[in-house]
Subunit: 465 residues, 2 copies
């Protein structure tokens, strides 16, 4: 069985922590590891690490590499690259092609598809269910995971269990998929006992899914005839359609494995108490938080001290450059805030002050008239593009590690507590030849200090102007 | 008449904006100027600028100089310095001595005492009342200003008006001073029509107050016999007592001038809507604020974007390093928060990230292991002490203006976009010889980067180790 993690989404429902540039799967929510890292580690209890792959697109590629490497450097490159986002059906078609052509899978190999941004506990129980699903998939079913609901949740789609499926093992046919219900309908579903939350995870053999694409999504099936390279080149012409709509809701092979486990898609800040246990006052407190007479309130701090007095049923999400305060039960309206900010072209919905690059990251510490100050961290062995700026000079001060600096035709090493100066219009390159991260402070000075004043002469990551 | 502003208080009731190091009188609340600046400007409508003095202590001396200078460089040094804080009675005794000895005032000179952190509008009306008070003070009364209450406020002390005072002009004898009442009592006071809020402003002649000190505070009166220098040297032995308790509540000369004016002591964040007009939703919004479905809520932002959803009756006060969120009506509990933070020795109740020094200010942009980054602003003509550090080197990058830098026995000029390096244990001095503020970035590097690693060899501001 191959485990494939879908990590191409750009979820901003947890703004201001998740942003277009750092969507939900990459954020740390309930511990020191990103949701993607947690997903990889969970799947590692089901299949060997080498059989776990992540499908994502260019924008998130180095986040994925980082997260995979954090789990094991051996799987850093277990990435399937979508040239552009085209929803889940084309993504799964690409996965099938990749498995057949690159991994030389047989058609009876089971593929286990899993979102990258959910929380599921405990891992052992999950692994046992995954193996049940694998067994059922081998009999020709497309096995979805139906979570046993513990409340009439209106934020999830539901799956109605039908008659027992062939192959047994607790798997039933899907009678129907139901859209997100209103509260009354959700209450009926929960009372009925035959409805389950659609978790977005499913398992099938390559052969089964190829047949279903052929039957229900011929436009996608047709492209599966080409090589991986051709399919990739042509990917932008794929219809943008979800696997649910394209296949699952029509397929007669859809089955459901009811599972009873702690599961959350953390679809909004309102669902945080599902995954971080509230204290005896009903509060969830993360960070440097002081509460007086505060109940049923979620406070997620980052770097700042947060003090609360007399609050009830609130959500406070604090980041370095944006603060959200919402009444509990209204957190889904974050999307309205994100829409407004997007229209206003506010950077706070796109990026954090910490900005990730293939070579490492930088933090803008301050920007003022004619100057900008950054802390730059360059990973071992990496190099920033050979470049020049027309409008700014740069002062570099190394605070940790050793830099190899090229200025014009000269190359030199600059050590901790040493500095160098890059005059305007001078070709320069910064490298970290060492074994530990290089940290330096850059003070830019000039009539214009925008990121777009850059002429890239060469770049090992293939970036152009 | 001399106008004396009491600016030695360390009010933190508007935390996190006001802190021990920057109390309420120095913060900007309802515009571009500090409350102290606004107080000076208001008094300038009553007396010539040269007759306005501020009494404060060492800790706030340069804030006071800055604020006075902002109004007029001519009065920068109109400061009476309390060696230590000993509450208002000793402060007023010191004022009397200062007026007699330094300003050569006669005993029939009227002294107008005024807190530094209140908001009063409009200025013209205030000036007319102040002149009425002056006239009444000349007849021997100690004239308090009683604000006509527009609500049963429980946060203020009240003054009960008695029979008409000699000298007339709308001034009555004080029948009694009443402590902060409970709501029921406050309602009675307002209904009675003869009770006024005690505004903390009062006017008297030097002779009157000397006599009252003699009658009711002999321990203070005795010290008034010495010279200003002796009285100052002995100031720490003064009893710490308020003028209200020591004199006003006992004096038979206490009078009240009822005044009908917009007045607020901005005693807590709850009172902010008294001085900043709420919008049609009842919200007060300062800074970069986006509200959805939010009513009767105060949001004061500073540098960050603040988004709110579905809030009602809340107070959100956001600063760079501390955030307060409180239910309206509970803002007086900020003092509990401040107490807890003080016990925990948290810097967030003492200083802001921007720290003021006699020569200018600095902002800590970031501090990490083995490094600290500051932006330093040095005022024209100022110089930082001649100093050295045993544990850190410093890289200085000038981003605006020109610096005169002394390193060991060498002195040089460093210009915008130039840098210099101060090695560990090297004597150095930084000066701004120019006409515009000098702005520079300092990157400290070393095994210890605490502020206390400093050996001051000489200092024009008289600071020692």
């Amino acid at each position: 069985m191959k485990a494939i993690i879908l990590a191409g989404g750009s979820g901003t429902r947890l703004w201001p922590v998740s942003r277009y540039g750092l969507p939900k799967q990459f954020i740390k929510l309930n511990g020191a590891k990103s949701l993607l890292c947690q997903t990889v580690e969970r799947l590692a209890a089901v299949v060997p690490l080498k059989d776990i792959f992540v499908i994502t697109n260019e924008a998130y590629l180095f986040h994925v590499h980082e997260d995979l490497k954090a789990v094991s450097p051996a799987i850093e490159n277990n990435v399937i690259l979508e040239p552009v986002g085209r929803n889940t059906a084309p993504a799964i078609a690409l996965v099938l092609k990749y498995c057949l052509e690159k991994l030389k899978c047989a058609k009876d190999e089971v593929i286990f598809i899993c979102p990258s941004d959910h929380i599921i506990q405990p891992v052992g129980k999950f692994a046992a269910y995954a193996r049940q699903a694998e067994a059922a998939a081998k009999t020709g079913s497309i096995v979805t995971f139906g979570i046993k609901p513990d409340r009439p949740e209106t934020g999830y789609g539901y799956i109605k269990k039908g008659v027992r499926a062939p192959g047994g093992g607790g798997v039933s046919k899907v009678e129907k998929f139901a859209e997100k219900p209103d509260l009354k309908t959700a209450e009926k579903y929960v009372a009925a006992g035959s409805y389950y939350w659609n978790s977005g995870m499913f398992a099938f053999t390559i052969g089964t899914m190829l047949a279903e694409f052929k039957a229900y999504a011929p436009e996608i099936a047709r492209r599966l005839g080409a090589t991986l390279a051709k399919m990739t080149a042509d990917f932008k012409n794929m219809p943008s359609i979800s696997i649910d709509y394209a296949v699952m809701e029509r397929s007669k092979k859809a089955a459901v494995l009811p599972i009873d486990i702690l599961w959350s898609d953390v679809g909004s800040w309102d669902s945080l108490p599902e995954v971080i246990k509230p204290d005896h006052d009903g509060n969830v407190k993360v960070g440097d938080v002081l509460t007086l007479d505060t109940k049923r309130t979620i406070v997620m701090g980052e770097s700042r001290l947060v003090a609360t007095i007399g609050l009830k049923d609130l959500i406070v999400i604090d980041t370095v450059d944006a603060l959200l305060i919402a009444r509990r039960g209204q957190a889904q309206r974050v999307k309205e805030v994100v829409e407004i900010l997007k229209e206003r072209k506010r950077k706070e919905v796109v990026e954090h002050l910490t900005i990730y690059r293939p070579w490492g990251y930088f933090v803008v510490l301050e920007e003022g008239p004619r100057y900008k100050i950054k802390r730059i961290v360059l990973k071992p062995g990496q190099k920033v593009s050979h470049q020049l700026h027309y409008h700014r000079s740069e002062h570099w001060i190394i605070v940790k590690g050793t830099a190899r600096v090229t200025l014009g035709s000269k190359t030199m090493l600059v050590h901790e507590n040493e500095s160098t100066y890059v005059p305007k219009s001078t070709e320069h390159r910064l490298e970290n030849p060492g074994r530990v991260p290089l940290e330096m402070i850059e003070v830019q000075n000039g009539e214009y200090v925008g990121e777009d004043d850059i002429v890239r002469l060469s770049d090992i990551y293939g970036r152009k102007q």
